[in-house]
Symmetry: C2
Subunit: 130 residues, 2 copies
């Protein structure tokens, strides 16, 4: 895991991700940070990559979007679980000890364990159901 110190561009991008009410896309971030002087995609993508490595944000693979990490325990981005509402698109990080323990200790049929995983649950959130 890398140092947690953030560079200028990383701070700028992280602020935008944090302010977003849900997962935000790279090019949306780009248009937001133009007022901060960032101009081109590589500046955003570099910052996003670093922020992921530093455990500050997560990438929601099925949405090509980025979400800030809500919990202090999240020191790494290597074990992640999310719930995704198929109606309102809301994404919530799942922090559940039983789940993380189960997945961390899961052995496949060859007896192998895995240090990293990403799990995305899809359903309809409570709000959308009601």
């Amino acid at each position: 895991m890398k140092s947690q110190k953030l560079s200028k561009n990383e701070k700028v991008v992280l602020e935008v991700v944090k302010k977003s009410t849900g997962p935000i896309k790279a090019y949306t971030i780009l248009s937001d940070v133009k007022k901060n002087g960032l101009k081109a995609p590589p500046q955003v993508y570099r910052a996003l990559d670093k922020l992921i490595k530093k455990g500050k944000i997560h990438r929601i693979e099925s949405k090509n979007a980025y979400l800030d990490c809500q919990n202090s325990k999240c020191k790494t981005s290597s074990k992640t679980a999310f719930s995704i509402c198929q109606r309102c698109e809301k994404v919530t990080e799942i922090l559940n000890t039983k789940l993380s323990k189960f997945l961390s200790s899961f052995k496949d049929d060859a007896g192998e364990e895995y240090l990293e995983y990403n799990l995305e649950f899809y359903g309809i959130c409570k709000k959308c159901k009601s």
Copy 2:
């Protein structure tokens, strides 16, 4: 779930995915199927979408790639788990009753269950370790 009957283009695309030794990308498929008369991306993407819905193939989200479903039990693409080797990029579908039962019955902190999920484990496969 849709009918399992496949259209002409779906069959052509499925054959290419099946022949591939691992996850295959849409534009790789496209170049392969040009000999079958398919010419443009939408033809491939449409077929891929349908094949996923029909449970014939899976999409590996973290790789933007497609893998044929190896197992007869796989009637749906809504509950999936894969192991991905970070060195050789090999992807294997995980069919494990304990895992699928655990995830299917998993309740989040709000007590909600989920009908669909996708899980990707990352590690180094046995072959690459040795």
